[in-house]
Symmetry: C2
Subunit: 414 residues, 2 copies
Amino acid sequence: MEQEQVEGSAFTVLPEGSITTPRGFKAAGVHCGLKKAERHDIGAIVCEVPAAAAGVYTTNVFQAAPIKVTRESVAAGSGLRAVIVNSGNANACTGKQGEDDAYAMRNEFAAAIGVAAEQVAVASTGVIGELLKMDKVRQGIAALPGRLAASYEASDDFCQAILTTDLVKKEVCVAVDIDGKTVHIAGASKGSGMIHPNMATMLGFVTTDAAVDHDALQQALRQITNLTFNMITVDGDTSTNDMLIAMASGLAGNSQLTQEHPDWPAFVAGLRYVCEVLAKAIARDGEGATKLVEVQVRGAVSDEAAQAIAKTVIGSSLVKSAMFGADANWGRVIAAVGRSGQPVNPETVDIRLGTIATLEQSRPVAFDEEEALAYLKGDTVVIGVDLHMGEGAATAWGCDLTYDYVRINAAYRT
Amino acid sequence: MEQEQVEGSAFTVLPEGSITTPRGFKAAGVHCGLKKAERHDIGAIVCEVPAAAAGVYTTNVFQAAPIKVTRESVAAGSGLRAVIVNSGNANACTGKQGEDDAYAMRNEFAAAIGVAAEQVAVASTGVIGELLKMDKVRQGIAALPGRLAASYEASDDFCQAILTTDLVKKEVCVAVDIDGKTVHIAGASKGSGMIHPNMATMLGFVTTDAAVDHDALQQALRQITNLTFNMITVDGDTSTNDMLIAMASGLAGNSQLTQEHPDWPAFVAGLRYVCEVLAKAIARDGEGATKLVEVQVRGAVSDEAAQAIAKTVIGSSLVKSAMFGADANWGRVIAAVGRSGQPVNPETVDIRLGTIATLEQSRPVAFDEEEALAYLKGDTVVIGVDLHMGEGAATAWGCDLTYDYVRINAAYRT
């Protein structure tokens, strides 16, 4: 298997790895009829042993029925044996019937694979406010167990099944050395619109064969989410269905990881890398996007201030439109910095586009417009902001605002 | 002059009124060369007596040079005799030279019309980070005094001169009975992009011939701004140049208005109407917009909560895209309500589109899709949200998100 060592890191990227590379996991995905098009729309990840599980959920006041059901399963503490996911329908704002449907989806899939109901998590993504077609879901539940496999193809089927307006699947796998054993951490995600810091219409599933303490995993997942999934935005909207679930099978044979384990930093670095790759992939695949935009803020009074400023810039429709047009309009960047609500010294701000300085100490710098145009036409643009006030730093990711974003969202339901 | 009585109100709309209808005011607008196209780009309002003045300014940390100059003039307390405004260049992020230019613009126009420098306010709007072409500005300063007139045409010249990407001018005039005297209140504004609550790339100028106490005028202007200009959004961005200036000539002959005057409520109602008309006109003329979207929130725990919820809904790119597509996607409305950060009972929300109920007590209501489509295709859409929690209410205004917004903003500088 081809491998890639990330410079300075303790882990290795496995380009042909998948969510079933960590020992103990199988996956599947099929078309059951929830999407109109003949595309996979229901999938599952199954673990052969109870996996230590952690979850992070949407902060939206309106939480879809599957969020409630999955919270219960993860909180039950008996470990997760599976997660079942459908796309095409979010099962949100569907009342008592929606809750009954989410429980039925969980309980019936648990029965189909012979595990306890509370060992199964449920996720849904798609249109809000319509009841799930349970006859279609049941066709999916019947078809999935026979398709479960530990293979790149089966993982691919799962990754395809969770997509909505996404154009590409998002999957990543790394290997980390823990106690001299090779531990794998892999992840799959979906998300394209209704994406904003503090979760998104974003589903993420992390598998690992590390033996890891549940509480330590939960804490690491939450902290890493704040630096990765919560630092992306496509359009400022936060979905009712966001969910990031991590499952650890423990089959790698390492001694159980906790914060005190000498290799804990290596595990956290691997987990953070997996989450960052998935988060950036969501930003790059934002609805209608033609490029990934990364905003790096440093010199802020605190990391929290830097995060808020980075999110304000990456969320600016004017900045996003300018990136689509490859327009070096740094004035919109500084306008966004200035309305972030964070401490900013209006006399000491630097702004650069890639390596091109456009503003230094809040004064315009003459730059080569042709060079800037060429840089901004690339598929990745980095906007650097240095406030020269303190040590706070943060990075946020997003995408450009394009005609296609409008086209996609002007008639999503129809 | 044709008149229109607004139902239940103490004022009369004068459809042919202008910012020079209030006694004492003249206006002018000319092309001096700051805009590439042969459109008016510099204008002025002049008052024949020192006018009691009040101002509200951008909250952006980066404040353009003219903001500083105008703050000084208004604070000087000797009343305003004039405001001079250019479009095509914001004179923002232009450093010491920019400040010098703003002072020169003020001082030279003051000299040209024979008043004290601190009796003149200055406003600029347009591109950020480029120095003003002062030779062009001086051509404008030389041409304006000879064009000043109290006429609909001269007012129209001024209104045209302050526009940037605006498609239409914004002007309104009302008459209010105070002490049995007819008092006029008129206003002109510009704003199309970089428009967001807490001011916008928004310039607003209110003229009135009422005799009104300076402090009372300032307080009323601030309170009314929070209910009008601060309740609109086009794209969530806040400009460095926003400014709303009110000038009261006192020539109507009424006894001086303060909060204790029996006709104070009538004056405030007229002023609020003027500001609301101008604010809604900016929202309707949002960059690329095809319609005005109004969000009415009621039943919130407080007016402040209702304001925050209304602004979150009106600012949602997904809601705005759906409005462009005439898609009755109330799921996006409830998702925005749920991420507003305000108290919301997830079981008791009603959502309606015009008079069409789509959600009642957080449960979907079957509605006629054809009827909804026909309604949403109109040029004004009202989204109603009732939280059934308290007495808090607010209204916000915005527009749809369209291909043209992206087109306009992908290459604004070029």
